[in-house]
């Protein structure tokens, strides 16, 4: 009993401290609801220049690795805590509309009309790319060449064998087996799928008419794997298969990806450089609320299936400080987060686009 007493005391002390900490936070929140009065007084109250900031976000899984790295580094630099839940783009849009998070994230840009209806602002956060991956014996990465039309025909089931004249014509000299093409697609709804089928819709009228675009579509055939890792696992196991994943999954699993012909007619390989070229050549300036899908971008070196992630915040937030903190975080990420993005196979936004985003913040968001 006597040995337990000090332990008990220590425990209750910890509990008390914890409770006190809890009590402080809601008080700070309540104060910041009145931004003009509270924001300046709240800041000096905290020790030094460490911020007692906490932001919550939810949405796309695509950006999760990058956001968690960014928030970790941002936390080390400023003390602010960013809590991001990767529940999927659909969930992210629903959560920001319900007002339960400070920012939402989606791989599919919302139309300006839909944004206006809910009073939301939208801006891109990072760029990545989707690559077709194949499993053909002896084929090295980047050796197989596909055009958008042929890729669409393969996923439509019109091109059903590897030695089909359509594929052979693009790959003179490459030995192609006569085996059946096994198509692998995502079984779950996803931003990767959205960007992939958006591209196929742009380059193939037949695809647009029969399948269309969305985060999940009615696939004409093939098998579905759950997540990028599911598709990667299936393609690795099934001989003669073709699927699509984000570049990081293709390189990490050492899978044979295919080179593509872009809108300018050039043959390109997936890489940070070709993704960046696509992001830079896209016409961001004339896209209201940055509502633009950068697939099939016009640039000479642009990778055709480049994907952009978007962040959603309120234009006139109820709690202006939290949205201000969110924008501060992304400003920091755009300016100082390039190295982390490179390491994770994401492409930082071009400087010109960052300037456009910051101008957009200043003009459209009252925070």
């Amino acid at each position: 009993m006597s040995r337990q007493l000090p332990r008990l005391a220590a425990l209750s002390l910890c509990l008390l401290a914890g409770l006190a900490a809890c009590k402080q936070e809601p008080a700070a929140d309540a104060a910041s609801a009145d931004p003009a009065a509270a924001a300046p007084t709240a800041a000096p109250a905290t020790a030094g220049d460490r911020k007692s900031v906490e932001i919550t976000g939810a949405g796309a899984t695509f950006i999760y690795p990058l956001l968690s790295k960014w928030s970790d580094d941002y936390n080390k630099a400023t003390g602010a805590r960013i809590n991001y839940q990767s529940i999927g783009s659909g969930g992210g849009i629903a959560q920001i509309k319900a007002g339960t998070v400070d920012f939402g994230s989606s791989d599919k840009p919302l139309a300006p009309e839909e944004l206006a209806k809910d009073g939301l602002a939208q801006f891109p956060s990072a760029v990545g790319g989707v690559v077709p991956v194949v499993n053909l014996e002896g084929l090295e990465a980047g050796k197989l060449r596909l055009s958008g039309a042929v890729l669409a025909d393969i996923f439509l089931g019109k091109v059903a064998t590897w030695n089909d004249p359509a594929i052979a014509a693009l790959n003179p000299g490459l030995p192609l087996p006569s085996s059946k093409i096994n198509v692998v697609h995502r079984s779950d709804g996803s931003g990767t799928t959205f960007n992939f089928v958006n591209y196929l819709s742009k380059v193939s009228p037949a695809w647009k008419a029969t399948v269309g675009e969305g985060t999940s579509v009615n696939w004409p055939g093939g098998i579905g794997g759950k997540g990028n890792e599911g598709v990667a696992a299936y393609v690795k196991q099934i001989k003669g298969s073709i699927g699509y994943v984000e570049l990081a999954y293709a390189t990490e699993n050492r899978m044979a990806y295919a080179g593509m012909q872009n809108a300018a007619g050039n043959w390109v390989q997936p890489s940070a450089a070709s993704f960046a070229a696509a992001a830079a050549s896209a016409d961001w300036k004339n896209a209201r609320d940055f509502s633009l899908v950068v697939t099939d971008a016009p640039g000479a070196d642009a990778w055709p299936i480049t994907a952009t992630n978007f962040i959603l915040v309120y234009k006139q937030p109820k709690d202006a400080k939290r949205t201000r903190d969110t924008l501060d975080f992304f400003k920091w990420a755009f300016e100082q987060g390039q190295a982390q993005a490179d390491a994770l196979h994401f492409v930082p936004l071009p400087a010109e686009l960052v300037q456009q985003i910051e101008a957009y913040w200043a003009s459209d968001i009252k925070a």
Binding site: I87, G88, S89, G90, G91, I93, K108, K180, N182, S187, D188, G189, S190, G191, V211, G212, E213, G214, T215, S216, V217, N218, W219, G221, G222, I223, G224, G225, K226, G230, A233, Y234, Q237, I238
Partner: protein
């Protein structure tokens, strides 16, 4: 605690006993009602969540095979079919094997072997389903795709009528594989119930049968099984319930394709796998509602299957004259 003098407290003690007894009765009634309330709450909230889908597609939701999030057309036939077929395959494999395991453990195995094997079965029952899924995908699927399915396709694929079940590309993924993984998952449940109830058969019954010259098979088939029949069927349906609702393991090996196919070698879909796959990115009202409606359908399918089991059991009992 009851340190009250017996002389003064007789009446009050009776009263206290009655009160405690009443309180206890309410407590256990509450526990019983809790089951009904949670059942009704789950069913009704799914029906409510899926009301938009049911309103738009009506009862035809059950036999439409289209599932198109772009055109907003949803029908549950493919997932319902996949759920029933995979569960049926699982039971077809699991029940005889479980019976064999229970038979072996209670009648044949030497005493020293019974405990470790019994413990191993219970351990198998405790393995999370995602582990079975990963094992299925990374170990079972390549073996089936390389060695088993090409042979099945070549040897059974051409048989008239039944052949369509076994014809198809050897992907290794599909309803057959899902059924196989499910079988391995439900065997521990079914066999451990069977083993437990086989042990409850009175020794004198079995000994009398042996004394009459019965073989081990005759003892188990004619004495042990009839004696434990209702419990054995209960165990089988516990396994069936698990097979119908299993999500993760099936998602890994089923192929997740919304296409209606007779072939067991081709990818299909199940209700639980569809919900798990698509719920996170269901970005329209009708899509989400259709998925919840699918959950309600699974509820109903399970309910119907288990009701049929009850009816079967009752008619069996009647025929036996119990």
């Amino acid at each position: 605690m009851n340190a009250i003098a017996p002389t003064a407290a007789d009446d009050s003690r009776d009263l206290a006993d009655i009160r405690t007894d009443n309180r206890f009765r309410w407590l256990v009634t509450g526990a019983g009602v809790f089951v009904l309330v949670s059942l009704a709450a789950a069913a009704l909230s799914m029906l409510w969540g899926g009301r938009a889908a049911f309103q738009k597609f009506g009862i035809a939701f059950l036999w439409t095979d289209e599932w198109d999030a772009v055109q907003q057309q949803f029908g549950a036939l493919v997932p319902i079919y996949g759920t029933l077929v995979t569960a049926f395959i699982a039971m077809l494999i699991a029940v005889p094997i479980s019976f064999g395991i229970a038979f072996f453990l209670t009648e044949i195995a030497p005493k020293w072997l019974r405990t470790p094997v019994g413990a191993a079965i219970e351990l198998l029952a405790g393995i999370p389903s995602i582990i079975y899924g990963m094992w299925g995908l990374f170990v079972l699927v390549p073996v089936l795709a390389e060695h088993v399915y090409p042979w099945v396709d070549a040897n059974f694929g051409q048989i008239p009528f039944v052949g369509v079940l076994f014809a198809g590309p050897p992907l290794g993924l599909g309803m057959g594989t899902a059924g196989l993984v499910l079988a391995i998952m439900v065997i521990p449940f079914v066999s451990s119930v069977m083993r437990e109830v086989f042990l409850t058969v009175p020794g004198r019954l079995k000994e009398s049968a042996y004394a009459l010259g019965a073989t081990r098979w005759e003892v188990v088939w004619d004495v042990v099984l009839p004696y434990t029949r209702s419990a054995v069927i209960g165990g089988i349906f516990l396994g069936l319930g698990r097979a119908l609702g299993e999500t993760m393991a099936v998602t890994f090996v089923l192929g997740n394709a919304h296409s209606l196919t007779m072939s067991l070698l081709e990818p299909g879909n199940s209700i639980a796998a569809t919900i798990a796959n698509e719920f996170t990115e269901a970005d329209s009202e009708m899509y989400r509602s259709s998925l919840i409606a699918l959950g309600f359908v699974l509820f109903i399918v399970t309910f119907i299957v288990l009701s049929i089991a009850r009816l079967m059991l009752r008619s069996l009992n009647k025929r036996e004259g119990n």
